[in-house]
């Protein structure tokens, strides 16, 4: 008979579970009765566990008694809850509450946790009683689940029990109270929530994370009225509270909070100033600017550096003057940070401010502006740069022509040639000559037919494994492309695991060239013909130029491969 039962069980289990446990959408998905039959059978633990999984997907109130019966089963208690927790029926809650009085130890802790997940407020009183359980797992689970219920009643149980909580349970009890307060605040019961938070803030020898969490909650629960509390914390001698205040402020939008935080900066120790300035930067609110500008003149180095970063985040025209002022700071780190910020920040207002600096009588200021315009590659500033390149002190003129050279195009070429003709020193002439060569290089036009691939190698260059890819690169160029990607997709992988390079030797417009690019990069063929207008401008200028400039102009012409005439 036992043999027959075993066979029947096997057939039943196979038919119910063979398709796996997550088949809710299948037409052949097992029905609840079949799964309950598995639970009632002598099936192995694995089969019963799988049946529980399925019941978690399709189970109804009908499945609750069989599953509840397993809550005390050492091997299947968890899987019974795995099935029960998602079943949307009040019968589950009743079954779990009943189990509170029959179970012990880990199984009881598990059931308590499930009650919390299901937020069964009818269990409040029972959970309150279990806060006094000797088993720490049980008491802590009760505390957290009461927190999940999030009611005034649940909080009251926790509040009363907290003074007598053992050291090992204390954190869980605090967690329960924090959860209750969150739920109450979210439900509009802010007064009750604030009272809970205040109670935790006043707790003797509380863990730091509870104190800071309570501070956050107390401030946020009070909404606008929480601002004084936040500011008090900003001024606290306990740096953890200062940090918690800074963090909390990020959850409080609006210029009013920004102004209050900014107003609190004066008089704080540097560490606190830095943390609050970082918070102000993250707010990206211009309301902080007056206070930051003022503090930039009086604060210590770390404070000033933090202000630079905050100004960069806040951005906008109003942030530019203080940043410009900080480019003259006595500390190199501050200067560097300010320059980096001005060189990178977005916004036409910054370009405008830098343009105004170009007209400043102080050559140092003009030099800074030129450097930053170069970093920003502000094409609209080219006329001003060329003007600066033609007047004033030599270092400023050279800086201006270099900055212009990085962006100049055909329109600026004649002006650059004129500058070379008028160069006042060898150094200046050399700088302008280099710029002219750069512009010529950028404006050469190269047709695929003008490129001849002499040799191409891809691999772990220079000495590792590599492959000759001359034919492949030549084929790419023949297809009309003048850009070749250095990738395994193009050339295979001749050196697995190595960082590879592509080196191509080629001839373009009669000039031999070699280019190398790292794997993942793109090799662009250069070396086409220089525009005739450039050549004409160079020739015309060479005829009129003084000897030193003429030599430079002729060198440029030679580089373009155009005859001097």
């Amino acid at each position: 008979m036992r043999r027959i039962t075993h066979v029947l069980n096997s057939v039943l289990i196979a038919s119910v579970l063979c398709a796996g446990a997550l088949q809710a959408a299948d037409a052949a998905a097992p029905n609840e009765d079949a799964l309950l039959a598995v639970l009632a059978s002598q099936a192995p633990v694995k089969a019963k566990a799988d049946a529980c999984r399925q019941l978690g997907l399709i189970g109804t109130a009908k499945a609750v008694p069989a599953l509840a019966a397993l809550l005390g089963d050492e091997q299947l208690s968890h899987m019974a809850r795995y099935a029960l927790e998602p079943i949307p029926d009040k019968a589950v809650d009743a079954a779990l509450r009943s189990a509170l009085v029959t179970l012990k130890g880990r199984a009881l802790a598990g059931v308590i946790g499930s009650i919390g997940v299901r937020r069964d407020t009818a269990a409040t009183s029972s959970l309150g009683t279990l806060l006094k359980a000797e088993n720490a797992d049980v008491a802590q689970a009760a505390a957290r689940s009461l927190g999940m219920l999030g009611t005034v009643e649940a909080a009251e149980h926790l509040r009363k029990a907290l003074p007598d909580a053992s050291a090992e349970n204390r954190l869980a009890f605090c967690e329960g109270l924090l959860r209750c307060a969150e739920a109450l605040a979210a439900g509009g019961r802010r007064t009750e929530a604030a009272a809970i938070y205040d109670g935790l803030r006043g707790l003797d020898k509380a863990p730091h994370q509870v104190l800071t969490a309570a501070l956050r909650g107390a401030v946020l629960a009070r909404q606008d009225a929480g601002l004084p509390l936040l500011l008090d914390a900003c001024r606290d001698k306990d740096f953890l509270l200062v940090k918690a205040a800074a963090r909390t402020s990020l959850e409080m939008p609006g210029p009013k909070v920004t102004e209050a935080l900014a107003g609190a900066l004066e008089g704080l120790v540097a560490d606190s100033q830095v943390v609050l300035i970082q918070a102000l930067g993250a707010r990206r609110d211009k309301a902080a600017l007056p206070a930051l500008c003022a503090l930039a003149k009086t604060g210590g180095k770390a404070t000033r550096e933090a202000i630079v970063h905050a100004l960069a985040e806040i951005g906008g025209a109003a942030a530019v003057p203080p940043l410009v002022a900080l480019t003259s700071d006595m500390a190199d780190d501050v200067v560097k940070a300010a320059r980096n910020a001005l060189g990178a920040m977005e916004g036409s207002e910054i370009d405008g401010a830098l343009g105004a600096m170009l007209r400043d009588p102080d050559p140092k200021t003009r030099a800074v502006a030129i450097d930053l315009i170069g970093q920003r590659r502000t094409v609209a500033a080219l006329p001003a740069l060329l003007e600066a390149a033609g007047a004033g002190e030599e270092p400023v003129r050279i800086a201006a022509v270099k900055a212009a050279g990085a962006m100049a195009g055909a329109a600026e070429f004649p002006a650059l040639v004129k500058l070379l003709v008028a160069a006042k020193s060898a150094a200046e002439a050399q700088a302008i000559e280099n710029v002219l060569l750069q512009v010529c290089e950028r404006h050469t036009s190269l047709a695929p037919g003008e490129v001849t691939i002499r040799k191409a190698v891809y691999g772990d260059l220079p000495n590792g494994a590599s492959a000759d890819v001359t034919a492949k690169v030549a084929e790419i160029v023949k297809r009309g492309l003048l850009v070749v990607e250095a990738s395994n997709a193009n050339f295979g992988d001749p050196a697995q695991g190595a960082r590879k390079k592509l080196r191509v030797e080629y001839t373009a417009s009669g000039v031999d060239r070699t280019e190398t690019v790292n794997e993942g990069g793109a090799l662009r063929f250069a070396g086409g013909a220089t525009p005739q207008a450039f050549i004409d401008a160079l020739r015309a200028a060479a005829d009129q130029a003084p000897p030193a400039s003429k030599e430079a102009l002729l060198r440029v012409l030679k580089q373009t491969r155009a005859p001097a005439r």
Binding site: Q209, R247, T248, A270, V275, A282
Partner: protein
Amino acid sequence: MHETGQLGNGSAALTRRGFVGTLAAAGAALAMPAGVRASALGRDGAVRPSDRIVLGGIGLGGRGTGVMRWMLNERDVQFVAICDVRKSRREEVKRIVDEHYYNKDCEKYADMREFLAERTDIDALLIATGDRWHALASILAMRAGKDVYSEKPSCMTIAEGRAVMETAARYGRVYQTGTQRLSQDTFVFCFEAARSGLLGKVHTAYAHIAPWDAAEMIHDWLPGQPQPPKEEVDWDAWLGPCPWRPYNATYVGGGWRGHYDFHTSCIGEWGAHTFAQAQAGLDALDTSPIRYEYVHNPTGDGMVTTFANGAKMILSRGDKYWRGSCGMRFDGPEGWVGSADGYQKPDASSPALLADYDKVVRAYVARTQRSLDHVRDFFDCVKSRRQTVANAEVMYNSMATVHAANICMWLKRDVRFDPAKGEFIGDADANRLCARAMREPWIY
């Protein structure tokens, strides 16, 4: 097994640390961190011991050890202890750390709750267990007052993700999920290009899913083997909140992947990265798609997900849109940009789109003051208390997308999701899959 609440000492230590030295402003440097041993020993130019972030690790295997080495190079960080249920991993991590610092100081722990209760000196934890433990370990750590860098996928269910997010907010903890591409320049450029209008209004993002495994996972048990001594492998702790099953060494050696209880499928394997990337470019890191369209294949390849604003994110398994792992691409009316691992510059429909590459990346750094180094961003935020680039909300919203896509595949039909509530709309079957009961004594 229970928590202890003796957590007062850390407060005093941190208070002192904050005021003895001046904090460095949050760095925006593009450069990699400088060398390390001199700092660890307190030599010239070093960060003073009292100013260092005290770091510990939980469950550091291959990936975790790699991230730990990355973190060891941060001169204002001191790694002091490892907690792992496997003796071999405890000893290996201790060996690496002690060799790094030229001492024998790295402490070993087997029990996470004892570890968290005892080490009140630890400020931050690197958590790189198997997927099943990421969320619960993060919650326990943050509840103990620690900041957390968690490897991904950082939660097994939608409910777990919400619990992590709520805990981080409750305790004001700094949390970073290990989606490191959110801090890499080639990817950052793509996000900026997509958000700034360079491509026009982006209508579609493509996100890479792992080219192995399937959306369906198995519930089979591997054959039971004799359980090793608890000191060698604590099997009960290894399982943690997951359903019990008999011990088999394959699981512990990494063979847990593909098992429903321990893994998040081919969609979660890479989607934990790439969905966050796609959502970053779509400016949708504060939400998730609202519609998921079932595809008739085993993997989810080609699934179209749609955000409330109409933008689409399409799951893609092959190399159609990239030529490396964990790729993503953004398409708009003015062109497309994309990136994947191994790129030195993004791919783009036109080289002109990349003309301002450096400028765009520099502007991002200036505007956000974030490091283009994921662990550095974490440590900067540990000091400043600001939100990390891959904070708990980002993790939750991108992982909700992962789980919703999985659930769509498991149910074999379209589903609709309410990101604000973290629930499927009018779909009781789908909602049953949003959470899993945890094995006792573990509860949130």
